[in-house]
Amino acid sequence: MVNVHDILETITMIQDENLDVRTITMGISLLDCCDPDIDKACEKVYRKITTLAKDLVKTGEDIEKQYGIPIIHKRIAVTPIAMILAPCKGGDPVKFALTLDRAAKDVGVNFIGGYSALVHKGFAAGDVELIESIPRALSATERVCSSVNIGSTKTGINLDAVGMMGRIVKQASELTADRDCIGSAKLVVFCNAPEDNPFMAGAFHGPGEPECVINVGVSGPGVVRAALAKAPDNANITEIAEIVKKTAFKITRMGQLVANEASRRLGVPFGIVDLSLAPTPAIGDSVAYILEEMGLEQCGCHGTTACLALLNDAVKKGGVMASSKVGGLSGAFIPVTEDAGMIAAARAGTLSIEKLEAMTAVCSVGLDMIVIPGDATPEIIAGIIADEAAIGMVNFKTTAVRVIPAIGKKIGDELEFGGLLGSGPVMKIRYQSPAKFIGRGGQIPAPLQSLKN
């Protein structure tokens, strides 16, 4: 029989430490929905999504009941829409966004990702049209998320696309200025974007993926923090790493169980488990608090990058053994507005954009959910994107930028999204202009991958 201690530990994790499965994301290929007539293509897209995902939400809820595990989100990721747009002869790309939004509402998912383009080596048919339409698409829809991949280790960075995205991010904020600039919170600019990431806003169903697949994202910063809180004060850092590893193992095993069950019930192959520590604004569910539990006075102080590197690595080591297939972003997320500890550190001025940038070199994603002043020029935003992409390119890892220019607000003001997106202070940026660099355009060549020192 199962041991009493194990039962109570699991219940405590769920009840008191915010353990949950963050998302079950169904990836759907839309490649067979192409049509020269954009309206016909939209109709095919709608039909395919609502057919394949019709039981997704109900299945998620049933699994929740069976195992007593909260499954917070049920979501959908689709083939980058730029690829579906390519064969269309004319027509407004926003029609696809409206179709995705309608399909998401009708099957009951709260986000659908894939209003995306992959332009790390240049623009193909459909790419520029799609990217230019992103601000309008995000403003006209509620549940659609967008992402653009502008660089990779193998190809280098498309600086033309970087410059373009600086402008698009700003426009996405401007068009939704009346709704706390929510547009840019649904837009991610990637370097080395994973094709199987289940987490929004950057989820899309990569061209190398199968027809339909179930990916699961686990969470659990609160559980890791609670486990560390029980460690003695004189525990050395190796022991801390071991605790994180063991906890990550348990969390991931739960994710794997849910993934297998969802895959079986829906008759859709299991793709990957994404072993990410995804914080929420809920008390205790914070990655920053884990770092503070390791011994930092506040997240952002000197030593933060080292603690985060250890955390990120230990999460992967524990998780990899617990799941048959691991993928997506897998590591620790550091979205500022979604993490109570990060918000506090940013308000106190301990956490700066520069420190966050350093942290992204060792965490799983990038500059995530950072509110910047509304008067940041498109070139400054492009500069932020270029810096972050360079870190990803050189280190062979995924990096992303999701900054929110807070239109009409200045440093120190606050932006409030509510819900899981949270809130956060407008952070300090540098106003000296990188416009000449960004304006050069072209491709930053791919980096050397040997002779490393």
Partner: protein
């Protein structure tokens, strides 16, 4: 509190779920009763029984968790 076991096992019987083992202990100052229930011949869905237990819990001021054994096996065993 009187009748916890009676109420919970009556509800199990209504769903034709067979109570195999019951352990009771005081853990971290909390009274904890753990029941192992066989649902192989159960009537209706596990989710319905879970809702019924939730209701009993609310009425009696207890918290009752209905969880499939697999979650503990997968989390705590390799």
């Amino acid at each position: 509190m009187v009748g916890i076991l009676a109420k919970v096992s009556t509800s199990c019987a209504e769903y034709n779920a067979n109570v195999i083992e019951v352990t009771q202990s005081v853990l971290q100052d909390l009274f904890a009763m753990i029941m192992l229930v066989d649902i192989s011949g159960m009537k209706g869905e596990l989710s319905e029984m879970s809702d019924a237990m939730q209701k009993i819990g609310d009425e009696m001021g207890l918290s009752i968790h209905v969880m499939h054994e697999n979650i503990f096996n997968s989390m705590h065993r390799i």
